[in-house]
Amino acid sequence: MVAAVFIPIHLFLFGLAFPLAGFRSRVRAFVGSGAIPLAKMYLFVLCSLPLFHWAHRFRFTVYDGLQVKHLNEVVLVFCYGGAVLGRW
């Protein structure tokens, strides 16, 4: 849900619209609101949940698509380890 609704909005705003239009102050204002606990919580949810979404999906894409089941441990550590690292 977070990855499907909020992530495209964020990428559009911070990855395309603001760099192209040069709205630097708006980016600063948004991230400056990180001092607010609610904004901190929002950023935490925005970053942690989609990372686990990626870890789970990417793991099974590698299994099914590339058929590398013998590298089970490596893929597991790379995917979920990356998600935990990003969350930390």
Binding site: I7, P8, L11, G15, P19, V31, P50, T61, D64, G82
Partner: protein, 134 residues
Amino acid sequence: MTNLPSTEFHPRWYRARVSTYWWMGSWRYLLFILRELTSVAVAWSVVLTLLLLRALLNGPEAYSRFMHRMQSPWMIAFNVIAFCFLLLHTITWFNLAPRAMPVRVAGSECPSFWWRLQTMCCGWLRRQRSRGLC
């Protein structure tokens, strides 16, 4: 068929060999793999957000450097591709969610999420119009 070991009480396994490129044989399979790969675009967006936060915490110079890098053509092109993947993820997610969790209203199942979304938007517009806001 792979040569897996068989025991006295267990017959030899039958495992048909599947090509590594099985997902290129059909448009449906390709769409399935593309949908799964949208998770990479999701992870990329999160990494971008984390880098943005780090640049802001490191001061104005780091932030300017980050924004300058974001304005480069290859980064814009990469973000456009990532955004297309994210849109695919959003569309397929909204198509799949009501199938996984069908919503029933007055005993009957709602046909599709888009139908519900359309109904919600129409209801909201009607309310705004009745208030004279639009």
